[in-house]
Amino acid sequence: MLAQTPPDAPAAVPGSPPGAIPGPRELRSVVFRREREAAWRELEDLIAAADKRGLRTLGAEQLARLPHLYRAALSSLSVARSISLDRALTDYLENLVGRAYFVVYGTRQHLRRQLAEFFLWQLPSRVRRARWHILAAAIVMLAAAIAAFQLTSADMDYYYVFAGDMAQGRTPASSTSELRDGLYHLESGSGMLATFAASLFSHNARIGILAFATGFVAGLPTLLLLFYNGLVLGGFAALYHARGLAVDLWAWMLPHGVTELTAVVLCGAAGLQLAQALVFPGARTRMDSLRDHGRAAALIVVGAVIMLFIAGLIEGVFRQTVTSVPIRFAVAGTTAVWWIYYFGFVGRGRDRAEAAGPARGIQPEPRATGELLPQRSGAMEVAR
């Protein structure tokens, strides 16, 4: 109704003659600012403290004031937008409320609880959900291993093609006893062992992360990495099998290999998940699909990096100090049983609870909807 007042009509301001401009002191925006400024400054100090030293350092009373002050500032912002033309003021409020928003609605979970949630539910659950990708990654690696095994068994020259880089002096030219010694060799200095384990870990983990990241390039490099890994494995196996060292080789490889190979397959599966989200987004937009699968895959990769660290410890320390074949196999079996249990069963109850109804904490899922916004092009992610 007010909007239809003709522009020429005298503005009916109480206490001022028609046509006269109210003095600056009576400007509504000036009075408005004077009344509320103290609360804004208090909020500003609170967020500055929270930013600098963490939310935890705020006292109980301050914590209780925070949402109150935030809502007050938010309402100030919306009033300022409609009555004030002071650019400095609206910019300030926009900035203040934006910063307060992330303090008020930011993650409040304790690190210990986050870690517990990660290990007891998120990681095994995400792995279970990626089972088909894991299967695909495992098949690619196994197929490469079998092919390389067959080829190398038929013609030892292939060994140099498949496992040349990783040979470290273990080639078809070595004698059988040299190869056997390599499997039971004990390092003397513990320092060398630690360095060896550490470099193995960082090398493997980097390759694993890369296998995930290259999923973004439609997953082809991911598949290549898996395939290449399988070739090395097959070539190695063929050499030792040909010399009658099959049992010794597996006893040497499996204690850490179970964990390491599983981790490699998991990284590959994460990369494939990413690739699928990118190439076949399904009914959703590519961005939405990438976002969901990317986050899930990243959790799997972090799990795999931790597994590689464990594998590095086994490889660098255990394997170099224990030579008994039965014990080596016992350890390999134990790790296999553990990972099957962990990824197969941990957190299943939570899975079911989530499926029944997502009962999560208070989580803002504000959506930018087109009609709410004054400038349509500014919508960040219009709910699709």
């Binding site: 239809q4 007042t5 503005a11 401009i21 109210p22 003095g23 600056p24 400007l27 509504r28 600012r33 938010l74 912002l77 919306s78 009555i83 033309l85 002071d86 650019r87 400095a88 300030y92 926009e94 934006g98 928003y101 992330f102 993650t107 990660f118 998120q122 630690a194 360095t195 550490a198 870990f201 960082s202 983990a205 980097r206 992360i209 890369l210 990241a213 290259t214 973004f216 961005m287 990438l290 976002r291 990317g294 986050r295 895959a297 990243a298 959790l299 990769v301 972090v302 803002p364 504000p366 959506r367 930018a368 909807t369 709410l372 916004l373 004054p374 400038q375 500014g378 960040m380 992610e381």
Partner: protein
């Protein structure tokens, strides 16, 4: 001089347009849209470089500290440093962004932060996803470019060219899309926005707050300038806020006086102001206050006059 002033206005308008393209909105649960401006590529690069320098410093200091503590004897030293370097390179960003609500030391210094694209909580998984991808975006091409000889000795020219193109495509990805997304941001569903600390400056229309400037000018405050409704009906909100910007620029700087004089002459000619003007700054301030009062008054009645061209 007038040409310069109008050119400046044109540049400012264009600049504003450019800025508007970078504005994104999030609607809070309370139903109020908040505006955020996406971070510029230069700011992000600067923050990244700062973080890199910090990582190197941390690594050097810790290595040096450990080796001097161990007396160069401990054999586990290399192992610790290798693992540390790996963790630092791959999890430095992730740990800070989780603990500091989307900021790292470099980002905080520059005044930018990572947010969830939909305005929800910044999940740990999102932070991990956007940072693990750096292996593909930065480290791999960098390693190849800097130490290509180790990865692939005697690489042919085309391989180097490919590596260069790869680096270029991934590193400059944020420049090529409208949301300024790095691949990591696409995968994680995150955005990087500017969030510097803006301080509240005095209101130009509040007489009590602006007193110091008059004192500096040494002009008598007694006789004010008066403007008629017709004179105040010429300009709109856009011009008002440009004037605000001019008045807030370097107050008290002698060089600014020249700008103020030019603007004041331009305004007087436009609104046909007949009265005598002694102090240009004072005239502009009073015009600003009157103009704002006028426009805000109209605003209350639902008439929003955007600029001098609107009806």
């Amino acid at each position: 001089m007038r040409n310069v002033a109008s050119n400046m206005a044109a540049v400012a308008a264009q600049r504003g347009n450019e800025d508007a393209k970078l504005i994104r909105e999030i609607v809070t649960p309370e139903g109020i849209p908040l505006r955020f401006s996406l971070a510029r590529a230069g700011d992000r690069a600067a923050a990244f470089l700062l973080d890199m320098v910090l990582q190197i410093i941390v690594l050097v200091v810790i290595s040096w500290g450990l080796s001097s503590a161990a007396g160069g004897e401990a054999s586990w030293l290399t192992a610790v440093i290798v693992v540390l370097a790996f963790l630092l390179v791959n999890f430095y960003f992730a740990v800070f962004e989780v603990r500091w609500q989307g900021a790292t030391p470099g980002k905080r210094r520059i005044g930018i932060r990572v947010i969830d694209a939909r305005g929800g909580q910044l999940e740990t998984s999102a932070v991990l996803a956007r940072n693990l991808i750096r292996e593909l975006e930065v480290w791999m091409p960098l390693r190849f470019l800097l130490a290509g000889g180790l990865v692939w000795p005697e690489a042919p020219g085309w391989a180097r060219l490919c590596a260069g193109a790869w680096t270029f495509v991934f590193l400059f990805m944020p420049v090529f899309n409208k949301d300024r997304l790095r691949i990591g941001d696409m995968i994680a569903g995150t955005r990087v926005v500017m969030q510097p600390r803006i301080v509240l400056v005095p209101d130009l229309a509040d007489q009590a707050a602006e007193a110091p400037y008059y004192a500096r000018a040494g002009a008598p405050v007694a006789a004010g300038h008066a403007f008629s409704d017709a004179q105040l009906g010429i300009y709109g909100i856009y011009e008002l806020q440009v004037l605000e910007g001019v008045l807030r620029t370097r107050p008290g700087d002698p060089a600014q006086l020249e700008v103020l004089r030019t603007v004041s002459e331009k305004v007087r000619a436009k609104i046909r102001y007949e009265g005598k003007v002694v102090d240009d700054e004072r005239f502009l301030r009073e015009f600003y206050a009157a103009q704002r009062a006028h426009l805000e008054q109209k605003l209350l009645f639902g008439q929003r006059r955007e600029d001098k061209f609107s009806k």
